[in-house]
Amino acid sequence: MKSDKLKFLIFCLVVLVLPLPLAKGYLTNVLIFVGINSMLALGLNLLLGYAGQISLGQAAFFGLGAYGSGVLTTKYALDPWLSMVLVALVVAGFAFAIGFPVLRLKGHYLAMATLGVGVIAHIAFNETIDLTGGPSGLSGIPNLSIAGFSFDSDLKNYYLVWSFALVVILLCLNLVNSRYGRGLRAIHDSEVAARVMGVNARLMKVQIFTLSAFISAIAGSLYCHVMTFISPTSFGFNISVELLTMVVIGGLGSVYGSILGALLLTLLPELLRTFQDYDIVVYGLLLVCMTIYLPGGMVRGIPALVRRLVPARSGNA
């Protein structure tokens, strides 16, 4: 318990000072997206890593959050903070409603159904041109501001996004180490046994699906205000797969793993910039290789690898 708190405090400190050496460099900009992706990956991890329910439609909730905030603030001149809350609640309500039929499905069928939701949402973003601007996107979204202080630079946005991300991380840490989190993991290991133990699996799956949609919608709202421009390509099937990759390579069922995954997969395309388009191949390879060779993800696999190598060496000596 004590060490968990310490770990989180150290992590907060790192987040706080990280941009200082980078000053106004463009890495700060990249780190903003690490924050947004961390929230999205965490949302998916709650569902996939803890409750064991796959979703290939996370980009839909992300997109609904982004377009909801974008449209309300540009077309209806609504207050950005108010619209963020409104949109998140509506998206969560939507997820709750579709959650009951969707999460009755299992395994491959669940994957296909959530994928279907994702594709339909993506088509809707493209086709409702009057609202969303269609494929050419929606621009002129205002920055967020508090009492006249506008979040209009990378550094300001960095702290804005990461304060949200840190709250989400803290809440997730609390949640997974509690009665509720144990219930989720029980469902993952054996749904029948969990239900016989009095765990209301059906309701909990829908609740956690709703929570992950809520987090994704908030991330979407932040994204649209940071970018001030959004287009449907940011919310397609590829994004859902990218989030899945983050969670898998970081480590299913590990909060910090999701952040590590988000960090790696956000930095990777930047590093591969010279080899544009290679990133999709790399994602594919990562997904296949990680699942075969490191099913626990980086956070568990790398320490295990080190443990295996170190005694081997001392044994030789």
């Binding site: 509690s178 144990r182 029948v192 059906r202």
Partner: protein, 250 residues
């Protein structure tokens, strides 16, 4: 305590159970026996709500629970263990029992993510309670072991500890002695008697006749999906129909 009325179950065209009718008396240990394929596990699955009966009713203390999902039955005090042990393999032994305390606690999504003060004290209470149940089953020293790595015998004990954590009124055990050696079986018999002595009614499906005859107060015999006989262990041992079903026609 538990009453089954005219239970029948069909899978597609196959009739697995038909006209099953008996009661489990409060405070007793009731054994359900029968040759392989008699429908014993199917009956348990119906009693605990894994699937609904095709016909008939399941009554728990007079309430018709036939259509209740398993989690609701668990809250009413009807809990079971599984023939092949269904543990939460990636969780520790202690955590497994803590899941068993799910119905004894109430913190929801909100309270848990915001670490409300009442949730913290509840969490402490759950942990202490869980440790008590580990002690009851005699596996305290395994508290921090991952449940998936336990031996079959220890896994069985954990499953019982976890089920007891729900403080059930009625505990259904599906072949509790399966896969245990004779020493473990003897310990199990003691444990089941201790469970009964705590006021929990027990019903069990079992193949081990020595165990059944030793601990059960009442027996129900199934054969090919129907009721063959019902009575005390002594009556059953002398019942001609039962002897024929087990040993075949002379």
């Amino acid at each position: 305590m538990l009453r089954l009325e005219g239970i029948g179950k069909r899978f597609g065209g196959l009739t697995a159970l038909q006209g099953i009718e008996f009661s489990v008396t409060k405070g007793s240990i009731t054994g359900i026996i029968g040759p392989n394929g008699a429908g014993k596990t199917t009956l348990f699955n119906i009693a605990t709500g894994i699937y609904p009966p095709s016909e008939g009713k399941v009554l728990l203390e007079g309430t018709d629970i036939s259509q209740f999902p398993p989690e609701r039955r668990a809250r009413l005090g009807l809990v079971r263990t599984f023939q092949n042990i269904e543990l939460f393999g990636k969780m520790t032994v202690l955590e497994n029992v803590m899941v068993g305390l799910h119905t004894q606690s109430s913190s929801g999504l909100f309270a848990c993510s915001f670490r409300m003060p009442w949730q913290m004290s509840e969490e402490r209470r759950i942990r202490e309670k869980a440790l008590e149940w580990l002690e009851f089953a005699g596996i305290t020293e395994l508290a921090d072991v991952e449940a998936g790595t336990l031996s079959f015998g220890k896994g069985r004990l954990l499953e019982i500890a976890r089920a007891m954590a729900l403080e059930p009124k009625l505990l259904l055990m599906d072949e509790p002695a399966a896969g245990l050696n004779s020493r473990e079986t003897a310990e199990l018999a003691e444990l089941i008697k201790r469970i009964r002595d705590r006021g929990v009614t027990v019903a069990l499906v079992e193949h081990d006749m020595d165990l059944v005859m030793d601990i059960c107060d009442a027996l129900v015999v199934l054969n090919l999906g129907t009721m063959l006989a019902e009575g005390t262990p002594r009556e059953i041992q002398e019942n001609q129909a039962v002897i024929t079903a087990y040993l075949g026609e002379e």
